[in-house]
Structures are given as structure tokens and as C-alpha cells.
């Protein structure tokens, strides 16, 4: 487990932005808890892949991004989407397969996208979004407006060939591409160390010729600072970089799988003691960026918003069968 970095006395962002980070982390947490509920009540089809425990990474990274920057996400994508500005109402509707969902119910829980916000889509193929992210970086470079592209992926994707194929290209062509690996210690039900050789991705990325850094993925400000530096370098044409964020998912690989058979109680307890949300809360309170009552209000607001999102989605229609053949071709 990585050592916890102590926070500097000077916070790297203005208060309103810090509050926004906190709000997003809380939104992700409550979104995931709500999906858990929705799943258990049988209100959604398919499976759900939740990211509670991992909120600091997407929020820290996306805090370094502009609206026109793009991200690609994974099967465990809700956090990335909320962090990049995705709205919980069409997200929840998509999870529930409704026509009011982001993808009209055609994509589903693993495929939420909002292209207008630069969210090029979650992806069910582990590593599948990496090529798309490289392509977006290519377009960004061509456009010359300083836009960057972020590829989020899990520790499982470290051993997919496309990572190395695109990394080589990204370095050669100096693409504005940030590879963000959320290492939550498990690839489904198998520990990271059983599946990954050598010193890990930072060493591999450096060997490919790019800047690479590992941070505490539960420390939103540490993630933000590292991402910010990489993003700004990429905007200036310095090429790609890799950020590895150490974190942990609280639940199972998917809802319905408790995540306890292959992870020890101690491991889970240890990580929960390092929960990214109270940790950030403490900093904000210490710095008086936020008051305890704000937190409560925010919590209530988000909770209500999610309940309403579920209620609205429940009432929304499923897509009509006649649109099954639409959107195959433009």
C-alpha cells in the first residue's frame, strides 16, 4: 500500500473548485450506492460494475481537464463520467435501460457516453478505449488548440498489447495523451501481483519513453497535482505521460459478488481506513473551505437528486422496439 502523502498547507485550487471536487466525489459515491440498490431491487437489467472507494482518481484527474478535453473509460466507468461532468439523470436512465438514458438504452451500464462533454464512452473491452483515446489525442494535436485526451483503465489493462502499441506511437508523435491507470489491486478476482511482472506500469511507461508517476489514488489533491502537471505538459506539446493511481474498490467486481472471497478482511479494512472522501473532507474542514453543515446539505441534496433520478428513470419508457434498427449507420 503506498504511503499517504501529507497535504501541503497551501491548497492547489480555489475554494469553489475544491468544493466542486468534493461534490463530485460524493456524487460518485452516492451514485454507486444507488445503483447497488437499483440492482438489488431488480430495477435494472444486466450487471453493474461499481467504483465506490475509487472516487479520488477520476475526480482528481478530471479537475485538471477542460470541457473540450476528452476521456475514454472502462467497464467500471460511472466515476469517470461523473467526474468529467456527466449528468446523473441520463446516466441512471441508461443503467436502467430507458430511452431517456444517455445512449437511449442501447449502450447500457458499461457503455455510457456523453460526447458533448468529451466523454467518448465507457468500454466493455478491457483496454478497448485506449486506441480511441490515442485517436482523440491525434485529432487534438492536429487541431492545435491545446486539447488533451485521457485514457482511464484498470490494472488489468496493463497487460493488453494495445497499451504498448499506442504508447510507442504516442511518444513518437508527441500526442497529448495521458494514460491513467487506476490500480485497484485486483483484475476481477485475482491480485495484481499475480498477474503483473517487474516493477509495474511506471517502469514500463518510462521504458517506452514517457514521463510516468505513481500517486496515492485515494488522495484527490495528489492525483490532481500530478495530472495537472502532465496535462499542462501535454497541452504544450511535450507528449504523453502515464499516471498510476493506487486505489481499491469497496464492493465486488460486480454487484452480486461481495468481493470478500479473494480479499482478506484486513486488506479491506485497511483500505477503508483510507477512504478518499473523509480524508478530503478533513482537509476541507481544516482549511475552512467547507463547513460541517455544508457537507450535510450537500449529502442530502445529492441523495435526493439520485432518488429523483431513479424515480424519473423508473417512469421513463423503454426504447420502442421499432428503434432497434436505428443508429447502426449514420
Amino acid at each position: 500500500m503506498p504511503a499517504r502523502k501529507t497535504q501541503t498547507a497551501i491548497l492547489p485550487l480555489p475554494p469553489d473548485e475544491l468544493r466542486e471536487l468534493y461534490r463530485k466525489m460524493l456524487t460518485i459515491r452516492i451514485f454507486e450506492e444507488t445503483v447497488f440498490d437499483v440492482y438489488r431491487k431488480g430495477l435494472m437489467p444486466g450487471l453493474a460494475h461499481l467504483s465506490d472507494g475509487q472516487e479520488a482518481t477520476p475526480v482528481g484527474v478530471c479537475a485538471a481537464l477542460r470541457l473540450d478535453d476528452t476521456i475514454t473509460s472502462t467497464h467500471r466507468g460511472h466515476g469517470h463520467i461523473i467526474a468529467k461532468g456527466g449528468q446523473v439523470e441520463p446516466m441512471m436512465a441508461e443503467v436502467m435501460g430507458k430511452v431517456t438514458g444517455y445512449c437511449r438504452g442501447k449502450g447500457g451500464e458499461m457503455h455510457i457516453a456523453d460526447v458533448s462533454l468529451g466523454i467518448l464512452g465507457a468500454n466493455g473491452i478491457v483496454g478497448g478505449g485506449i486506441g480511441i483515446a490515442a485517436g482523440s489525442a491525434f485529432t487534438a494535436k492536429r487541431e492545435g488548440k491545446g486539447r488533451v485526451s485521457v485514457a482511464f483503465f484498470g490494472d488489468g489493462a496493463i497487460n493488453q498489447g494495445i497499451l504498448y502499441e499506442t504508447a510507442n506511437i504516442a511518444v513518437l508523435w508527441k500526442l497529448p495523451l495521458i494514460y491513467v491507470c487506476e490500480n485497484n489491486q485486483y483484475t476481477e478476482f485475482t491480485n495484481y501481483h499475480k498477474l503483473t511482472s517487474g516493477e509495474g506500469l511506471v517502469a514500463r511507461a518510462k521504458a517506452m519513453g514517457m514521463n510516468a508517476l505513481e500517486v496515492d489514488g485515494n488522495d484527490v489533491l495528489a492525483v490532481y497535482q500530478a495530472a495537472h502537471e502532465m496535462v499542462e505538459a501535454a497541452r504544450k506539446g511535450k507528449g504523453p505521460a502515464t499516471l498510476v493511481c493506487q486505489t481499491f474498490r469497496y464492493g465486488g467486481h460486480h454487484v452480486g459478488e461481495p468481493g470478500t472471497a479473494y480479499r482478506s478482511k484486513e486488506e479491506i479494512t485497511e483500505w477503508k481506513a483510507r477512504d478518499p472522501i473523509p480524508a478530503f473532507e478533513k482537509i476541507l474542514l481544516n482549511h475552512k473551505v467547507i463547513a460541517p453543515s455544508d457537507i450535510e446539505t450537500m449529502h442530502d441534496q445529492i441523495h435526493t437528486q439520485l432518488q429523483e433520478a431513479v424515480a424519473t428513470a423508473q417512469e421513463a419508457p423503454f426504447p420502442e422496439v421499432k428503434e432497434v434498427g436505428e443508429h447502426v449507420y449514420a
Binding site: 437489467p45 447500457g108 451500464e109 458499461m110 468500454n123 488489468g156 497487460n159 476481477e188 498477474l195 432497434v324
Partner: protein, 331 residues
Amino acid sequence: MSMRELTFAQAIREALDEELARDERIFVLGEDVGAWGGVFRCTEGLFQKYGAERIIDTPLSEEGYIGLAVGAAMTGMHPVPELMFGDFITLAMDQIVNQAAKMRYMTGGQVQVPITIRVTMGGGRSSGGQHSQSWHAWMAHVPGLKVVVPSTPYDAKGLLKTALREPNPVVFFEDKVMYSKIKGPVPEEEYTIPFGKADVKREGKDVSLIAISRMVHPTLAAAEKLAAEGISAEVIDPRTLTPLDEETLIKSVAKTGGAVIIDEGYNHFGTTAELAATIAYGAFDFLDAPIERLGAMDVPIPFSPQLEFATIPDEAAIILAVHRILDGRRR
């Protein structure tokens, strides 16, 4: 023979277990197939029984571990790699198609490549466009591969045991929906089922229904309903696509004069095309109506259940197709 009821997954597991015990060269590899027992429970307990050397958890590297399996097969082992979702076959295509399938031929017969690649297929689980596809037609388009598409626990066990004794690359397709939902009798005694022998799942005389993998089940249900209407439908399961038992299919259609092909792969350029073309050729003089093809609708597989189910052939669609044939009889 003494029978028990096993689920489809249990039948698969039992075939693996028996063959692992029989042949030291066999080993299983894939993502979470080991300690976890496989996401679909097909390797449950095998890790505990045969150890980490023979039931092997791989990194998430489909091209890499399937490539490794091809090389192991060429050097005397019999690897059984699993592709958790058949959709991921796209990542290992080169190793399957350009390496495994061709090595024997390109070396002029110097090597055998006894690899059994277990691949899932099938939708209907709201798993979305990248976790629901059925790529058996692709594989059957590749010379050098054998392609198996079992529909019952009995067939799955017998055919998998045959695959595990084959000196050739086999791509073995398992419909995910059947794993826990389809139960059936499986004898206690040892048996194998030869490749290239279709199975008549129900005899009939008015129309031939040829169904692949899980589609056999709605097809049998449709046949039952048709019987109530006085229509006698024969249901045939080819069981293997390569080799394909053309004779049984053609003979059935020569008898009934009409055929519906039911498959969960995409319709266009898929399995329904090959079977329809083969039968239309072989039973040309006996066909009373055009062959009906019921493949999956040619769209990426949608998430929302109503949409998804609309893309998969079902009982109602099969009955309708039979009526089209019987109403349209032209000779």
C-alpha cells in the same frame, strides 16, 4: 446407462475433469479459471484438484495466452484456453486463424495442433454490445479449425471429451445462458460424441427446423406448439459446424420439403447462410418453399431487454416462419 441431471456448466466441468485425469498433457488456462473457478463456474474445484500447474490463471492478455497455448500444443501439450466472452475472440484472432489453424498445413503435416479453445456466445443477458456476440460463423469460415456448438449438457460433455482427444484445433462454443439454466440427463458412464454427426432432437415430417446451440430450446418449444396445431416439425441440431453433417440435414429436408434455420449469430453472412445454401443445393428437387433464415438481427446487440430480445430469434418467430413455409408451399 445410469443418468443424472446436470446443468450445462456441470457437464462441461465434468468433461474437463475426466479428461484432465486421463491425459497429463491437458491443461486449462484463462482469466480467473483457477482459484476462482471461472466466472461461469465451469472450472469449479479443478484448481483444488489438479493444482496451479494445470489450471492456470492468466493475465488479461488474450492474444498472449492463446498464442502461448498454440505453441504448447505444437510441442506436445493439449491446452484448453478459455475466452470468457466470445466477443474477445477478436483479440486472439491472429493466433487462432493465422497460427493454430494453418501450422499443420504450412509445415506439410509436420505438426499437430491439439488445442481446444473454449469460447462463450449468446445474448439475452443485457450484457451490451461487447459481451453478447456469437462468432461461430467466423470460425467455421476458417479451414483448419473444427467448430463445435453443443445445445445440451449431454452433447456438451460428449463433444468436449472428443475435442480433448482431437489432434486438431477446436473452437468450442458455449452459450452463456445455458450454463445454469439448461439441465439435462448425462450418463454416469464414459461416452464421447463424434464430430460431424447431427442429432435429430425431434422427429417430424412436415418441416425441418435446424437450430444451433441454445436456439435448439426455443425451437423444440415451437415444435411442441406446432404439434398442437397438427404440424409435425423435425428438429435437427448439427452439433458441429466443421465438420458439418450435410447429409442428415439434406435428407431431412428432402423428406419434409421445407426448412427453417435458427441461429443466434448475425443473419447476414452467417451460419444461416451456409446451412440454407447447402440445403438449397442438396435438397433442390424436394423443396416446396424457400428456406427461412432466422439469425440474429444485423445490429450491434442492444442493452435494453426489449430491444435485445427483438434481435434474437424466438419461439414466435419460428412458428411464423413455419407458417410462411406451409402457407407458401408452391409445389
